[in-house]
């Protein structure tokens, strides 16, 4: 693909990045609280976000630049199988509707900020309080790093080389997140999401017209898959169970991450969350249509070094240069919003469940906010270093494992909302079985998240995360039933 610098595209790109930078710094004054030196204000925006802010924030943080680049790239490479992101992001919302308002209520009533706080409040166990956020922290790391892969792809398409542009954007991001907290990504998310909607609607309306319609797009992809002997427009018989379990497992995991929980806790009521479960599927529609850009890549006969270039290359070949610049800016800003929210989520975990629990239990509200701000800086620099110095494959493998790991925190976090029957030792044992067992299965399969299961003479492949979750729940239930009740220590 072209890598000469296109002045028009680059100017439009820089204009929009400068715009959101200004907004990021202004955000500290937006919906101004009495003080920003309180962890609730800095990292949850004072728990005041209504339906629309929550919609933009969660949407901006759940559907990242990585999604915009990687889902079409996967569909470009493997076809129908890559489409599992669609059932995944449909099934997730009824789950959000049922569970998240209860979790929000629990957090709001007790002033909890993280999953670790909730688990500690419920079970009074420091060990479980450490296991849950530790899992969340490790699982979130690759999610902070991967949007930068999306950003790298567009920066490359603009003809800029080296890591400098990425580092500059990230340092600016770190600075305004430091000063404005969650208000910065919440405000920027408005711009980012509106830009992404414009880009995707333009893409799905204009590109197929240039490529001879959707029928032609699908036919071209089909022909390419057949010529290549890999990938397919429909699922193979052995992919059914894998596709379904991957969708279901990912849906259950999605709102266990610290960044998605941060978005939930920052909203102002349970009804805000329920309304968002109705409204957020708009992004899913966007994602589904975006995935089809992968097939458009075939119809446009793109020659790519890496599948990740399919979206930037399409925009560059089929759009005028100012609109390509606009689209690239949308993707780059799409990397900044989630990175900010995720670093805030990770910083909360560290502050509440490590610093306050072990280092300085008497820490003041202002002190908490200060520790969280510093931690968010460290986390972002860490993510930047991972992308610059480690191979992308490492972040990808880690993300894959992260999905399996985070799913293992579901019993501890969610079951307590419905029943008081479970006790900490059983849940901790279940978590350990799921976490280490799942990791072993992934390693055993050569770092693939799918595991072959034979039931009698029927063989199928299942998403390892879901298998590990099943083992986790079975172990928790059995141990809890067997262990004497006096082992309970409820705080």
């Amino acid at each position: 693909m072209m890598t000469d610098i296109d002045p028009t595209a680059l100017s439009v790109f820089i204009f929009f990045l400068a715009l959101v930078t200004v907004m990021g710094f202004v955000a500290a004054r937006w919906r101004r609280p009495k003080t920003l030196a309180h962890i609730d204000e800095w990292d949850l925006g004072g728990r005041t976000f209504g339906t629309w802010i929550t919609w933009f924030l969660v949407g901006g943080d759940f559907y990242t630049a990585y999604t915009v680049i990687a889902v079409p790239a996967l569909v470009y490479t493997v076809g129908a199988y890559g489409f599992f992101a669609l059932p995944y992001t449909i099934v997730v919302y009824p789950f959000v509707f049922m569970v998240m308002p209860l979790l929000w209520r629990r957090a709001k009533d007790h002033g909890y900020v993280t999953a670790g706080d909730i688990v500690h409040g419920q079970y009074g166990s420091r060990a479980l309080e450490l296991a849950v956020p530790l899992t969340g922290g490790i699982a979130a790391m690759p999610h902070i790093a991967l949007p930068l892969v999306g950003m790298t792809a567009v920066v490359k398409a603009l003809g800029l080389h080296g890591e400098l542009p990425l580092a500059v954007a990230f340092i600016i991001l770190a600075l305004y997140t430091y000063s404005a907290g969650l208000r910065a990504p919440a405000l920027i998310a408005f711009v980012k999401d509106i830009m992404i909607y414009i880009v995707v609607i333009a893409a799905i309306a204009l590109i197929p017209a240039k490529l001879g319609g959707y029928a032609n797009v699908f036919a071209a992809a089909d022909a390419d898959f057949k010529a290549k002997g890999a990938g397919s427009l429909l699922l193979g018989g052995n992919q059914y169970v894998a596709y379904a379990t991957l969708a279901l497992g990912s849906a259950l995991a999605a709102f266990m991450y610290p960044h998605t929980l941060t978005g939930i806790f920052a909203s102002n009521s349970g009804n805000t969350i329920r309304k968002n479960a109705v409204l957020l599927p708009a992004y899913t529609l966007l994602l589904g249509l975006l995935a089809l850009l992968g097939y458009m890549g075939h119809a446009a006969n793109l020659k790519l070094d890496s599948a990740n270039d399919v979206v930037p290359a399409l925009f560059q070949t089929l759009f005028s240069s100012w609109f390509a610049g606009f689209a690239f800016a949308a993707i780059a800003i799409g990397a900044l919003v989630p990175a900010a929210v995720m670093s805030i989520g990770a910083a909360n975990l560290f502050t509440r469940n490590f610093w306050k629990a072990y280092v300085d239990p008497q820490v003041s509200d202002a002190g908490e906010a200060k520790v969280a701000k510093m931690t968010s800086l460290v986390v972002k620099v860490g993510a930047l270093l991972v992308i610059i110095f480690l191979p992308t494959q490492f972040a990808l493998d880690l993300q894959l494992l992260g999905g399996i790991w985070i799913l293992q925190t579901l019993p501890a976090l969610v079951f307590g909302l419905y029943t008081k029957w479970f006790r900490a030792p059983a849940l901790l044992a279940g978590w350990a079985v799921g976490f280490f067992g799942g990791t072993y299965l992934v390693w055993d399969a050569g770092w693939k998240p799918l595991h072959a299961v034979a039931l009698g003479d029927v063989n199928f492949t299942v998403y390892t995360g879901l298998l590990a979750l099943a083992a986790n729940i079975v172990v928790s239930v059995i141990l809890n039933a067997v262990m004497p009740a006096r082992a309970t220590a409820r705080a």
């Binding site: 099934v91 596709y243 529609l285």
Partner: protein, 57 residues
């Protein structure tokens, strides 16, 4: 609510229902437009659930 969750999950996770090329709609094979169609359907079902519940906050 649980029933609705079950419904959406069922119609989407039982893949042999929809893993086919025909019928084609506006150039989209069935596999694609069927799943895309479930996005608004799920949103509407969730909205009905929202309307029909008591709100305590």
């Amino acid at each position: 609510m649980d029933k609705r969750f079950g419904t959406a999950a069922c119609w989407l996770l039982v893949i042999p229902y929809y893993n086919s090329h025909d019928p084609v709609l506006l150039g989209f094979p069935f596999f694609y437009w069927y799943q895309l169609a479930w996005v608004p359907i799920t949103a509407i079902l969730t909205w009905i659930a929202y309307r029909s519940m008591r709100h305590d906050d």
